[in-house]
Symmetry: C2
Subunit: 292 residues, 2 copies
Amino acid sequence: MTPTIGVFDSGFGGLTVLRALIARMPCAQFAFLGDTARLPYGSKSRRTIARYAAQSARFLVQEQGAEFLVIACNTASALALDAIQDAVPVPVLGVIEPGAAAAHAASRTGDVLVIATDATVQSHAYLAACRALGLRAIEKACPLLVPLVEEGWIGHNVTAEVIRIYLAELTAEAAAKGLNPDALVLGCTHYPLLRPLLEKAVPSGMRVIDSAEAAAQSAVHLFNGRAAALAGERESVHPVLSAPFVERAGDSSDYTTQVRCFATDSVEKFERLGSRFLGRSTGPVQLVDLGG
Amino acid sequence: MTPTIGVFDSGFGGLTVLRALIARMPCAQFAFLGDTARLPYGSKSRRTIARYAAQSARFLVQEQGAEFLVIACNTASALALDAIQDAVPVPVLGVIEPGAAAAHAASRTGDVLVIATDATVQSHAYLAACRALGLRAIEKACPLLVPLVEEGWIGHNVTAEVIRIYLAELTAEAAAKGLNPDALVLGCTHYPLLRPLLEKAVPSGMRVIDSAEAAAQSAVHLFNGRAAALAGERESVHPVLSAPFVERAGDSSDYTTQVRCFATDSVEKFERLGSRFLGRSTGPVQLVDLGG
């Protein structure tokens, strides 16, 4: 039987992670939960985020049968990964460590920039994950970018100006500290939609690192490893990965991957905006009540 | 005994309403609750907003002894006024009808513009309140303005450009419908902080109407009327209004008004940003758990 992979976000930004997962695991089943009634997590406290995230994780595991969880939310990964791991008896993968690992692979100078929400930055989770890999990182909260994406101003001159201002402040801070950054980590699942503007805005030679892509790649490795361990054959590949493990960019309309989407509120908004993030229709989104 | 007036918002934007209330009722006691754990209401559904708002109203009445409630939140006023009135046994005043009444008093052409959050606009509560007064109204959701205020970009050129774009779209729509608007209603409690930029951006001759001010004025009238009715003397004035009923603009540091602030999350952020909206320190904010 094909196992179910649970993917969780506070909103629908995490659909960028689901999109990257589908590209790598087209034969898996996915259950995605957006805790839209309580978004954004980015401006809330650790205690509150941990409570919300644990409830959401239990829904995916206990009610949707997820055997593996990907926390497709930087804020929840930064502030609640332990709480989620305590709440459910399945492997849980966040987006922070994969993002930091990808930055480590990309950077030559060892200095990286991170942009994220307020709460992710205040947690200094990227800073810690980068430091553990020997990188020096400078983080900056960019609270206007999520609403700009949700307003649909993806390629707008106002968005370009906001990005220019944020990056100028960030690179000035890096320079003042004597750093020479050559990678920019997108520490929020909304930001991949701004990648074209960000690529234009960064200094030449600076690599843009997408945590969504990095997390999807780590998920495949972790899932492979676990499937192999369960089967007692370390070299085997789980059936969900029976399709070749190659990136399938571009048109994803021919995927038959089974995806069920759930939201705690705003099903209409989720369906309307979600396709921008997922790169195809979300299908009908089911409303769930987590009691919050 | 001085009665307590409860003031409720999803966040701290409603502190602009509290500020206007304090200016008019400096001898009253106020209990303000910001349901910050669950903000923003503006992107949530009617059902969810009604549930959250009713819980918040019960807290102010049952636990803080409020004898009168002002819903200092356009979204909750638009979508949950009935639910709140059902939930508590005290008079409840929202901000929509006072805002529409102030627009009616200000407009000569009878055509008005309204800017607000997504949920307030989708409820068409201002449209209905304006229509009931014989006004024609056109509403527009401006979801970037709240994050711009919260980022502190109150006088920023990016904010000016966003306002220019929103108002250009709104006035074009009004013109296409043959309307000749001469008033702009600020249908969100964050927007009064953008009043200087908005005043510059509107066509000459257009009046900017602040729902916070209008609601505070209505609250005084309603409270006066109720106090008089309770006393059995229709012309008497309740002791909370013993100070002269005049606007006390400018420095409010000499107010001795007793204000207790509560928040469901982010006490630190509330205290840090709240003073911008209240015009003075919020004092220590108490964290409360509404079980959400």
